[in-house]
Each structure stands twice: as C-alpha cells, then as structure tokens.
C-alpha cells in the first residue's frame, strides 16, 4: 500500500516536470476528490490551473473546494471571472462563502456580476455572519417542505429538489412563513402511506441552533444528539440553513487545537492561518503574551530567593536542588491540571464534584509525593560530596529536609493544578486559562516559599 503510494507520488512528480497535464488530469479524475486535492495542494497555483482547466466545471468545483482554503483563493484569483463564476455555482454554499471571503476585493467585485442572482445573494448572506457563528459555517442547501403537503406531494418535492441538496436525510417541515416546526427522516417519508399528511409522520422534538450561536456549541449539539445535520434558525424561528456532521468534526478539531494552544499559553485564533502561512510576528505575538507576563510574575520567585539568600550563603548545597524543586512541581501540577481540564471539557466531572476531586487528588498526590520525595532524598545523598557540607551540618538532616520539601511541593502543586481549573470554571472562565505556563510560574512561587521556608526553619 505505502509502496503503491510512493510510486504514484513519483509518477506524479515526473509528469509535473514534463508538464504532462493531460495525463495528470486523467490520473486524478480516477481518485476521490479529496485525494486529488491532496496532490494538488503541494504544487504551484499556475500548474493547478493548467490541470483543472482540463476538467468540466463540476469536477473542478469538487476538487478545488477540497484544497486548503489558502490554495483555493490563490487558484481562484488566477482564474477569469466568468470561469470562476461557473465553478462557484457547483461549490457547496458554505465552502463557497468561505472562499469568496478569501478573494481579493478586486476579484470579488469583478466576479459578482457573473454570478446568478440566487448565488450572489446566498454568498452575501452567508458571508455577513460573524466569524465563529453558526451562520458563518452553515449551508443553505437543505431539504424543506411545507406542513400542509400530503406525503405524495412532499415526496415529489424532495425528488425534485434532491440533486441540489447537500443532505436530504432530514427533511425539515416549515409553515408558509418558513418557521421551523418539525422534521421527517427521509426513510420515514419513503415508507409512509402516500395519502397521509406530512404532519402525521413529522417529529416535533427538535434540536436546533441559533444563527448567531457559537459554532462550538452547535458542533457539541450535533455530537450530543448524534445528528447528521442541525437546522439553524433566525430570531423569528425561520429556517435559514443547516450545519452538517462533517462541519462539526472540523469545528471540534479546530477548537481542540485552540484549547491545547491556550493551555500552553499561546493566544490567538487558530483558524486564520496554517502554521507555515502564519507570519512570524503573529506567531511571536501569540506566544509572547504569556511568556512576558510570566517573566514579570516570575520576579516574585526571584524576590523570594533573594530574601533567603542568607540561607544560600551558609548552605550552598541548597542552591543545587532549586531546579529540581521548580521542575518537579511544575510537571506534577501540569499533569493534574491537564486531567481536570479534560474531565471538565468532556463532562466527566462538574464543578459540583470539587470535593471528590480534592479527595482523589489528595490520595494520588500523597503517593506521588512519597515516591518523589524519597527519590530526592536519595539524590541529595548521592550527589553531595563532603566539602559541600559546612561545619555543624549533617548530610542526613539536609537530605531529609530537601526530600520533605519536595514531597510537600509535589503535594501542593498537584492540588493547585486540580483546583485552579475548577475555580476558573466557577467564575465562568475557560478552565484552560490555567495554562500550563501560568501554573508552572505559580507553583514556582509556592515551591520556593516551601523550600526556603523549610530549610531555614529546620536547618539554619
């Protein structure tokens, strides 16, 4: 299988070098559109234009709409308006609106007169919803019938509309003012008695989304109710579009990337660019926010260490284990934070469970603290040479105190990591704001206090 793909890849590259677009076109036309798009994604726009020019408009639309959005725009900007308008007519409404938004203003203006009135209005309407709303990802291709129809008439309408509909598995029932009142499963419509009415087989327990609703909330509804598509209504409860299951997967993936990045203290929306296309200074801005904030908060741990510099002066060996305190605390805190942020996100726990979480984390962290504290004790014993220990100090005591401090640090860091996301959620903030870097810095401060506090109390 992999070998076959390797061979195909080589063949493709040789054909490209020879500019044998005709053979490439025939090779590609045998593939699924999404596979063809994978080949084309990696080559320059003018070569893509040469290849897709050999397809009919429908095939071209099918393949072009599956390229990266940035590539789509590059190719579209290369085409003449008339050609582009023909292709756009065959692209699904939501993808078409996304592509349109990416075109240069000049191309947009040249293009509009060539589109059919219906397509033009559709594009303008779908492009007008705010980024990230249900309206911005919905499609206007849906099957709807009026509630007064008979099954026979309804079937006729669906048969007639079907070829142009993105999904006809749910047929939405509306009144004469397009108010959404129910839906019918396609299979129920097929199986129903031809003489009965639409309302007799209509389901009225309906899950729907508002056109301004956040796309993530819409995708979660599709996930929760196992839907193939969800109807989208405006303020007047009129059906204006649908969001489909494949869009839901894309939205959930995108949100998941943003959550992970947020958790790592990276700000900004992921959607706008892919990694390589995002300008370096945007990457810089997204990352610098937290790094700089934390460097400033980090002053505090600097001040603490400074306060205790008399400890370091009399007992240099204490300095050697500062990185261990900082790291182990940060790592164990990040772990519990990760587990809790996820458990909150997928609904395994709610904020009401905070006591149970503390109890569970207390047991877990006690075990971790014991093992890691013991390791630290052993480490101190092994790493320390005789001349590290000043007059009047005892290696065993020092190792005990450092081991104890590490155990305490692991314990508090784990509990903090678990509790802070729950507190964030309690205050209606995203639990992921307890970003791993933020926690690391907090845990550092508590760690230095514990470390130097214990050392100065018990050793000096």
């Amino acid at each position: 299988m992999t070998n076959e793909i390797m061979k195909e890849n080589e063949k493709f590259e040789i054909l490209l070098e020879n500019m044998d677009y005709k053979t490439i076109a025939s090779m590609i036309s045998k593939m699924q559109a999404v596979e063809a798009a994978e080949y084309l994604n990696s080559i320059p726009k003018n070569q893509i234009v040469n290849i897709v020019n050999l397809f009919d408009k429908e095939k071209t639309a099918d393949i072009v709409s599956r390229l990266n959005l940035e590539k789509q725009a590059e190719v579209a900007n290369e085409l003449v308006s008339k050609e582009l308008s023909n292709i756009l007519e065959f692209i699904a409404p939501d993808d078409r609106a996304d592509l349109f938004k990416k075109l240069t203003a000049e191309v947009q203006n040249d293009l509009l007169p060539y589109l059919t009135k219906k397509t033009r209005e559709d594009i303008i309407r779908l492009s007008s919803y705010p980024e990230g709303s249900a309206g911005s990802v919905m499609s206007s291709n849906f099957a709807s019938i009026i509630n007064t129809l008979s099954i026979e008439k309804a079937l006729e309408k669906v048969r007639h509309d079907a070829p142009s509909k993105e999904t006809i598995y749910y047929i939405y029932v509306v009144d004469s003012d397009m108010h959404l009142i129910g839906f019918i499963f396609l299979e129920d419509l097929i199986l129903a008695n031809l003489e009965s009415s639409v309302t007799s087989i209509m389901k009225t327990k309906l899950v729907f989304a508002d056109v301004f609703e956040d796309q993530e909330s819409v995708a979660k509804k599709i996930e929760k109710y196992d839907l193939i598509a969800i109807p989208v209504v405006n303020k007047k409860n009129q059906l204006v579009g649908i969001v489909t299951h494949d869009d839901a997967i894309d939205i959930l993936r995108q949100e998941q990337t943003e959550d992970l990045e947020k958790f790592m203290g990276i700000t900004g929306e992921h959607k706008a660019y892919s990694y390589l296309n995002k300008p370096s200074w945007v990457h810089f801005k997204n990352r610098a926010y937290w790094l700089i904030s934390l460097a400033i908060v980090g002053l505090l741990s600097g001040v603490i260490v400074h306060q205790y510099s008399y400890v370091l002066r009399s007992l240099m060996i204490v300095a050697l284990f500062m990185p261990m305190m900082a790291d182990t605390g940060g790592n164990s805190g990040s772990q519990s934070a990760t587990v809790i942020v996820r458990a909150l996100a997928i609904g395994e726990i709610t904020i009401k469970d905070w006591l149970k979480v503390i109890w569970k984390e207390t047991k877990i962290s006690a075990m971790l603290a014991f093992v890691l504290g013991l390791l630290a004790f052993i480490k101190v014993i092994f790493l320390t040479t005789a001349d590290d220990i000043p007059e009047g100090f005892n290696l065993l005591n020092i190792a005990l105190v450092i081991g104890l401090a590490l155990a305490l640090q692991v314990f508090t860091a784990t509990i903090m990591g678990a509790l802070l996301p729950i507190i964030a959620k309690k205050f209606k903030a995203d639990p992921a704001v307890i970003a791993s870097p933020a926690l690391t810095t907090l845990v550092d401060i508590s760690g230095m206090l514990i470390y130097f506090g214990l050392v100065s109390l018990l050793l000096t």
Copy 2:
C-alpha cells in the same frame, strides 16, 4: 433557559426524595433520550431501575444505552436476565456488545440463554474483536443488497429492512458471498428508474475499513471523506459491519484526550475509566512513570550545577536567577513543541518541511529571545542590591551576561521544542512523546550548561 433547567433540576430532586417515580417517568419520557440519561446518570442504580421499569422495553433500551457505560453495567447487573435480554434486543449492536463486555461473568452466563440466537451470535462476534479495532466499535446494523437485484426489488428490501437499520443512507452492494463491491446513496435509489439494475446506479469508488484496523485510522477516514458511515470488511473482503459518523466523533475525542495526556507525560488509555471512577493508584501509576523518569534524568542538571558550584560561591547572585532560566526555557520550548505537534497531527506540515520550520522558528525565537533577554537584564538590575555584588564585579556586566544567557536559552529551547517532534515522527514515533515534561527537563539541562558556561566564561 438556564433558569428553566434549574427549575427542572429542583423539581427532579424533590420528586426523587418523594420516590414519585411515576411523575419522574412521565417527565423524562418527554425529553430526548440523551437528556433523560443525563438526569439518570447522577442517581443510584436502584432508583434508575424503579424509573425505567415504568417504560416499555424500547424506550428503556433507548435511555439506558445513553447512560455512562459504567452506570449501564450497574443497572443491567440489577435486572433479572429475562428483563435484561428484552431490553438488549432493542439496543444498537455496537452499544450492546460494549455493555455485555462490562457485565459480570455470572450475569453474562445467566443472560445468554434468554437472547435470540441472532442477538447472541452478534454479541459474541462483536465482543471478540480486539479493543481499539474497527471490529470493536462497528455496528452490524447496515443496509445491504445483492448486486443482481433490480431497483424495484432493492427498494422493496430496503423498505422491509429499514426499521431495524441504524443507518440506511448508504446501501451497500454485495455479491452472493457478501463481498463488498459498491454502494448506493439512498436518494439515488429513490430517484432511480424502477426497471434498471442496482449496478447501474452503484458507486464503485469505495472507502472502507479493515475489521482489525485501528479505530483512530477509521475515524480519520470518516473525517477525511465526509462520510456518514464507513463499511468494514474482513480479510476476504466480506462486509461485516459499519462504523458511523457519531462513533467517529467519540473516537476522535477519546484519541484527542489521550494525545493531550501523553503530551503532559500521562500514560495509559483514557477509555477504560472516567476520572472519578479510575482508582487512585491507576491515576498514580499513569502519572508517576514520567515524573520518576524525569526526576532521574534531572540528576544531570543537578550534576551540572554541582560542577559549577565554585561559580555560585564567588557570585551568589547567579543562584537567584536559576529558576527564571529553567521556567522561561521550559515554557518557550513547550509552546513551540505544542504548535509543531498539532501542525503535524492535522497535516498542516510534514517532516519534509523541517527546514522551513527551523527557519520560521529561528525568526520567532529571535524575537522572543530579544524581548525576554531584555526583560531579564532589567530584572537583574532592579532586583540586585549593592551587597549582592562582590568586590571586583560590575552590576551592568552581570545583568548583561544573565540577559544574554536567557536569550540564548529561549532560542535553543524554542528550536529544540520544534525540532524534536519532527525527529520523533521521522523515527516513526508519535510526535507527542516529546511530552512537555520531557522537554522541560531536557531544556533544563541545556539551560544550566548555557547559564553557567556563559557566566564562568564571561564573568569569573
């Protein structure tokens, strides 16, 4: 809306206290099954049994199959075998097999004789596939027709089978030995000329999964090709089941949790337990692996600091900024690792792009290094008091060297964070093994070398 839910919740709790199961049952029966299950998930098993006993078997099956799997098993273990067998007949085959696996061996044995032969065989077959394979998540409810049928006969068969099928949007075409040869869209079947043959409207460009294929790979195919369901075949290319789009979302969510946890150095499969049900010592085991490994590797940074303790003795102030070096390096490395691991996972970059990635990260990290180095310089100036500086040293020089060391640390940490996931992928390992804690510890070692190297070279 939220207020309404609050009221419903309160009402529900009062009814529970009064053991008014009848009113609860009528309240719940008006909800979607998934919503009803949300209420029941939070109450004890015997109360659930009292409530679902008031429903017919189909409704009970619908609601019970949407409870947490652990709750399902608790409830099922409470029911008598005959009752349970009746309910099982109405649960979707894949959910049924999952539930069966969770029952105690005793309940399983008592149950089997009560099941219909078809259901019994179905459960045993689906339970026999290895955890995480397509076979273990597939459903045996699919619509299939033989390739020799006419459209009219095919429609008749689909009409007849439909009520028992989980999804009939794709109708799979097989030969007389159940070999998969194509599929038909339900809408095409409905629209086709009654006299023509099945093969005339059949699509033969087919995406399918192997029954032993990893579930994540199957889910990714559903995502890539925007499928509602994917057919699953055995070694002989015979159709044995389908995996549906809603299962794909569940699988992708689960894998995403495991990826995030892996990235945070948490081992183990997520699926086995939910957070609160997972025993503390399993949590401990999953987290301890990396923490302990890293504590051991951390010895190295301890040794390095130890080697340079003469620097600390002559210039104590250097110790104060050790935590800052460790943290800032760890944070900036984790950020670039996060971005690259995600970009690799969603296919925005491939290992072939490594040079482009280095170039991009070089630019980003140069900016970050400059800003953070400058901040460190300022920090040293502000935090240092006159008696921190021994005879013969100059504050400005010290601040310059520490700022320079931090800048160099940010630069190398960022590049390492970006490069290591790509190297891991090159060696066929999961890029997420460059777990954030692992990177933190590595970056610590390089950071201590840079820090003490520069200080001893330029200052002492």
